[in-house]
C-alpha cells in the first residue's frame, strides 16, 4: 500500500516535470525569417546586411558587417525598422555603429522593440564607411510576422 502511494507521488512529479518541459519548449522563440540586402562591393570591400525576426517576439534585429575585409571601429552602422500591416512605420532605431573591429563574417547588430501585438514587417539599413564617406544600403523586407497577444 505504502509502495503504491509512493509510485503515485512519483507519477505526479513526473507529469508536473514533463508539463514544465513542454511549457518551456513552447516558449522558445522560433527564428521566423531573414531578409537580406543586396551585396555591396566598393573598392574591393564587400558588406552585407540582414534583418532577422522571431515569431514570438517583436524584436526585429538588423545586422551588418564586412565579408572580405576587417572593418575598424565606426565603419559599420545599422538600424532596424518595423511596420504595421497597413504599411505604417511603427518603430525605428537610430543608427548604431560598431565600437570594435569587425573581421570578415562578424556582424554588428541593432535591435528594435515593438510593443503590443499583431502583424508587422521589418527591414534594416546598413551604413558603411568606404572611400571617405558613408554609403547606405537597405535590406529587403521580411514577410509579415505576428506577435501573439
Amino acid at each position: 500500500m505504502h509502495r503504491k502511494v509512493n509510485l503515485r507521488k512519483r507519477k505526479s512529479l513526473l507529469v508536473a516535470f514533463l508539463a514544465a518541459v513542454l511549457f518551456s519548449a513552447g516558449a522558445v522563440p522560433a527564428f521566423a525569417g531573414t531578409a537580406y540586402s543586396s551585396w555591396g562591393s566598393y573598392a574591393g570591400h564587400q558588406h552585407r546586411a540582414e534583418i532577422r525576426t522571431y515569431s514570438t517576439y517583436g524584436n526585429p534585429s538588423a545586422v551588418g558587417g564586412p565579408t572580405t575585409h576587417t572593418d575598424p571601429a565606426g565603419w559599420v552602422g545599422v538600424l532596424a525598422r518595423g511596420y504595421a500591416s497597413n504599411g505604417s512605420l511603427i518603430v525605428q532605431t537610430g543608427y548604431s555603429y560598431n565600437n570594435v573591429s569587425l573581421t570578415p563574417g562578424a556582424l554588428w547588430s541593432n535591435v528594435a522593440t515593438i510593443t503590443g501585438n499583431g502583424a508587422y514587417y521589418a527591414s534594416g539599413t546598413i551604413r558603411y564607411w568606404i572611400n571617405g564617406a558613408y554609403v547606405n544600403q537597405g535590406t529587403t523586407f521580411t514577410p509579415n510576422q505576428n506577435i501573439p497577444g
Binding site: K4, K11, L89, S96, N144
Partner: protein, 135 residues
C-alpha cells in the same frame, strides 16, 4: 503494479512525442515562415501641394527611393507621416565620430498630415543598442 509502470511509460512516451513535435515546429519556422500571411503592399506615392511625395516605405529597398514623407503611427495612435530627413540622422563626418555616437538617446520627431505642415503627433526613434552578433 505492472499496469501502473506501463501507464507511466505511455505518459512519458506521449509527452516526449509532443515535446519533440513542438521543437521541430520551432525549427521549421525558419524555413516555412508559418506566421507569414499577408503580401507586402504595393508601393504607390502621392504628391502634396508642396511637391513632396508621401506614402508607405514598405517594399522600398533603396533608402534613396523612399518618399519624402513616410507613413507612420504617432505615439498618440494617430496615422500620419514623418519627414525622411527627420527620421534618419545625417551620416557622421568620420568613423571616429561614429564611434562616439553609439550610445545616442532616443529622440522624438514630428508626425505630419499629408500636407507636410500640420502636426498630428510625434514619433519616437529608439536609441541604438549595438552589439556583435553571430554570422
Amino acid at each position: 503494479m505492472k499496469t501502473l509502470t506501463k501507464k507511466l511509460g505511455f505518459i512519458v512516451a506521449g509527452v516526449a512525442v509532443v515535446v519533440l513535435g513542438v521543437g521541430a515546429g520551432s525549427a521549421a519556422g525558419a524555413a516555412i515562415n508559418p506566421t507569414s500571411t499577408a503580401p507586402i503592399p504595393v508601393v504607390e506615392y502621392k504628391t502634396n501641394d508642396s511637391g513632396e511625395t508621401y506614402g508607405s516605405a514598405v517594399g522600398v529597398v533603396d533608402p534613396e527611393n523612399e518618399p519624402d514623407l513616410i507613413q507612420a503611427v504617432a505615439t498618440n495612435g494617430r496615422e500620419g507621416y514623418v519627414r525622411k530627413t527627420d527620421l534618419v540622422e545625417p551620416a557622421p563626418a568620420s568613423p571616429e565620430e561614429a564611434s562616439q555616437l553609439r550610445a545616442t538617446l532616443g529622440r522624438a520627431i514630428p508626425v505630419y498630415s499629408s500636407d507636410g505642415k500640420s502636426v498630428v503627433g510625434e514619433f519616437v526613434i529608439q536609441p541604438g543598442q549595438g552589439s556583435v552578433a553571430k554570422g
